[in-house]
């Protein structure tokens, strides 16, 4: 308990640094949100009016304090381009990002776990080398490139899958699946290399353990030993890396969401940077930072729980 408390306390200075960092970064970027908001309706009076509306006429430190003060009270502010509450802007798009992120993760695990297991069992064989090679290749191809090719081959030419767009799984599970498959493959392929590597190395370690040898000696079939006894234990470290990947879903999807016009948080972040939508950029980065830190903490705790040899004093 005190361990958790200590970890949470250590998060505070990090969160503080993140707020200062993102605030400075976006506010010091050249560009004037008033000009973006006004577009072809710009004139000096309107620009001054927008600056006042948004509090941009105040000194920077005051703007920062106002923002942080509101955040502490649970008020994330409103988007300066759409007036949408920032919290809603993010939570409205979160289901789309989560669905994509989880589908991508499933895709990467479906490929990685069998490949990793085979590679470990047949260590050093041609199968091992091919499996490793394929997974390293997966992390080497730019995911937007995979996305572009998938769109043109399977969507525009073959018309097997729809082009982009998102259908909530609660609304129509089948359509939702059809829409999510291509972006999930584009996004998840990079994860396969990491997950496959973890499965392989942890499997190798487990297979060297005495109890596996004992199980074999007792006459259990090799297949049963591998898939029942070994795999279960080998997946423990995989769980941790998967946990970290969940913490990184928001940022991972930035490009894929853009390519597939997926209405998620990553695309919101990019468009808000371009639009100098200060409040939204700040909100997304802060949320992503928190989810990253909490996922790290959760992973450490789960790891300690799964593997009693590790204890946190």
């Amino acid at each position: 308990m005190s361990y958790i408390l200590r970890r949470l306390v250590l998060m505070l200075p990090v969160a503080f640094l993140v707020t200062v960092g993102v605030f400075m970064l976006i506010h010091l970027s050249p560009g004037d949100p008033a000009l973006i908001i006004l577009g072809e309706d710009r004139n000096p009076e309107a620009i001054a009016q927008v600056h006042q509306e948004l509090g941009l006429d105040k000194p920077l430190y005051a703007q920062y304090l106002i923002w942080v003060g509101h955040i502490i009270h649970g008020d994330w502010g409103r988007s300066i381009t759409t007036h949408e509450p920032v919290w809603n802007a993010i939570t409205d798009r979160l289901p789309a990002t989560l669905e994509l992120g989880i589908a991508a993760l499933l895709w990467s695990l479906v490929v990685a776990i069998p490949l990793g297991t085979i590679a470990a069992v047949r260590r050093g064989s041609a199968a091992d080398r091919i499996a490793t090679g394929v997974s390293v290749a997966g992390v080497s191809v730019p995911n937007f490139f995979i996305g572009i090719v998938l769109i043109y081959v399977l969507s525009v030419s073959a018309r097997i899958f729809p082009f982009g767009g998102y259908v909530p799984i609660t609304q129509d599970p089948w359509e939702s699946l059809r829409h999510v498959i291509l972006p999930a493959i584009a996004l998840g392929t990079a994860g396969t290399a990491i997950n496959m590597r973890f499965t392989r190395s942890s499997m190798i370690e487990v297979l060297n353990h005495d109890y596996i040898r004992t199980a074999r000696a007792k006459g259990a079939s090799w297949r049963r030993v591998v898939f029942v006894h070994a795999l279960k234990n080998a997946l423990i470290p995989v769980v941790t890396i998967v946990g970290l990947q969940i913490g990184g879903i928001i940022e991972g999807a930035v490009v894929t969401e853009t390519v597939f016009t997926w209405p998620g948080v990553g695309r919101l972040a990019v468009e808000s940077i371009f639009n100098r939508d200060y409040t939204v950029v700040q909100g997304v980065v802060l949320l992503a930072a928190f989810s990253y830190m909490l996922a790290n903490l959760a992973v450490d705790l789960v790891y300690g729980w799964l593997d009693p040899r590790i204890s946190y004093a």
Partner: protein, 504 residues
């Protein structure tokens, strides 16, 4: 993926060369009720409230949800909207007779009091961007439910055209106050137009449904319209081909030719109302020297730009007023084909920096102009900037040359006054010519169209001659759809009005 930069480059990307005014209505047959159409929007909306709107794509949605006091026909002539008849013989007191029996989607009546309240909201709202649109309107007097008088502080010959646009859109103020802070995100019941607001999922889609008691009887034909935000012209084309959308507002110029030959799709266009080109900063070196500005204008080959960059979609531009306008002057050809030797004898051997964005089409354009100018001994350096930075520097006069296009306004005043009147809000070039100022002011306050045209001809000739802006091309307004779409009328103002569209 590159963002499509607000309204500025849309006209560039939009497509093909059409004849004179008049957009025919697409396809024969008897209109059929039912069905829905999906339209791609190339950029995400910021607001659904005309009061704080400033994007082209927002207007596009508004015209199907809200009614304006006035409308236009396909040749830009002012037509009745919520105002049935009007009397503008007294330049300071415009008398309007309103349609009777019109109701907003929330059931509240449209009447004189509603007009007055809407105009006051636009004139005084804390976040209103309509204040300068309506600066000539002093007050609105309600005579009775169907009669209002607009009292003007000064004559304003552009007012009716302004009231076609957002400043003339009438909203149920009940719905506005019910919506409260979130009104601009979900303006339920606020309009009186052919379609009603249903929902807006930002970054994804916006849905409208048929207004069953629309005051123009028999309309609309469609049960609903869905807008999908697809912020990339290549993706828009892909979505059109996969059938995920029925209508696109813009596609890349290079893709027009192949779409035209594809029997599954319709491509048609008419001249639009904007202009393309770039600003030269007359407030600083080197372009504080008029000869250098003229040399650049002489060295640019508009026909090459039209052919190589816009794939012959649109026409070359000589001045700010496009062929779709009544004030178009076809005799204005001071700088026609590129003339490197004449440019050289005007001014040569200088260097300047041209600012643009990383959009591939803008980049290609910059490289083409660079090579054209080098033939005249002028060195053009290309500086690529991220959109927000570029926009700020151009607006704040921190540039030598800046590629900025204009989506255009219905009245010629909107294409010229703010740009080249001394201190005008779009006068990034810091151009100032008292005589031009005088012509532009005259044209603003004169009701006589022939007299106004004379003023615009004079002003245009002088501006083109002085070259604070190098005009390159005029864009088009296009119908880009699948063949199931009928009854589509092309308007030069780039807006897609869906009331009369039907689907087979």
């Amino acid at each position: 993926m590159r963002r499509v930069a607000l309204g500025f480059i849309l006209v560039m990307l939009a497509a093909a060369c059409g004849g004179g005014g008049g957009g025919g209505n697409g396809g024969g047959g008897t209109p059929k009720n039912g069905g829905t159409a999906t339209i791609a929007l190339e950029s995400e909306l910021h607001t659904l409230d005309p009061m704080d709107s400033s994007l082209l794509v927002e207007r596009e949605v508004f015209y199907n949800m809200y009614d304006s006091l006035f409308t236009i026909d396909s040749s830009l002539a002012i037509k009745p909207g919520l105002v049935k008849t009007w009397d503008t013989s007294d330049p300071l007191n415009y008398k309007f007779t309103l349609q009777s029996g019109v109701k907003y989607h929330d059931g509240t009546p449209f009447n004189g009091a509603s007009v007055k309240a809407n105009i006051e909201r636009y004139k005084t709202g804390a976040t209103s961007r309509r204040k300068s649109d309506l600066s000539s309107v002093k007050s609105v007097e309600v005579t009775d439910d169907t009669h209002v008088i607009f009292h003007l502080g000064k004559p304003d010959s552009t007012l009716l055209a302004t009231l076609v646009d957002r400043a003339g859109m009438m909203l149920s103020l009940d719905a506005v106050s019910k919506g409260g802070q979130n009104f601009s995100l979900a303006p339920a019941g606020a309009g009186s137009g052919p379609f009603e607001f249903v929902e807006w999922k930002r970054n994804d889609h916006l849905t409208l449904k048929k207004n069953p008691s629309y005051w123009r009887s028999g309309l609309p034909y469609l049960d609903g319209v869905t807008y999908r935000a697809i912020p990339d012209v290549n993706a828009i084309l892909a979505a059109l081909k996969t059938g995920d959308i029925d209508i696109a507002r813009v596609i890349a110029s290079k893709d027009v030719a192949s779409l035209k030959t594809d029997s599954n799709f319709i491509y048609k266009d008419v001249p639009a109302i904007g202009f393309n080109g770039f600003e030269l900063n007359a407030g600083t070196s080197p372009f504080n020297d008029p000869a250098k500005r003229q040399a650049v204008a002489l060295a640019i080959d508009r026909y090459a730009i039209l052919k190589d960059i816009q794939f012959n979609i649109g026409v070359v531009a000589y001045g700010p007023i496009p062929p779709s306008s009544w004030a178009f002057d076809s005799s204005e050809k001071i700088y026609d084909h590129a003339d490197a030797s004449k440019a050289k004898s005007t001014a040569t051997g200088f260097t300047f920096t041209y600012k643009t964005t990383s959009d591939p089409v803008n980049q290609q354009l910059a490289q083409l102009m660079q090579s054209e100018l080098s033939a005249a001994g002028i060195t053009m350096q290309i500086q690529t900037e991220e959109f927000a930075t570029y926009q700020q520097e151009c607006a704040n006069h921190q540039f030598q040359a800046c590629g900025v296009s204009w989506s255009g306004r219905i009245d010629p005043d909107g294409n010229i006054y703010a740009w080249w009147h001394t201190g005008g809000s779009f006068n990034d070039s810091l151009y100032s010519n008292p005589q031009v100022d005088q012509w532009l002011e005259d044209a603003r306050t004169t009701a006589d169209q022939a007299k106004r045209k004379q003023d615009y001809d004079n002003a245009q000739k002088q501006i083109v001659q002085d070259a604070p802006y190098v005009f390159t091309t005029f864009g088009v307004s296009a119908q880009i759809s699948d063949t199931k779409i009928h009854g589509f009328t092309l308007y030069p103002d780039l807006m897609i009005r869906m009331a009369e569209v039907w689907k087979s």
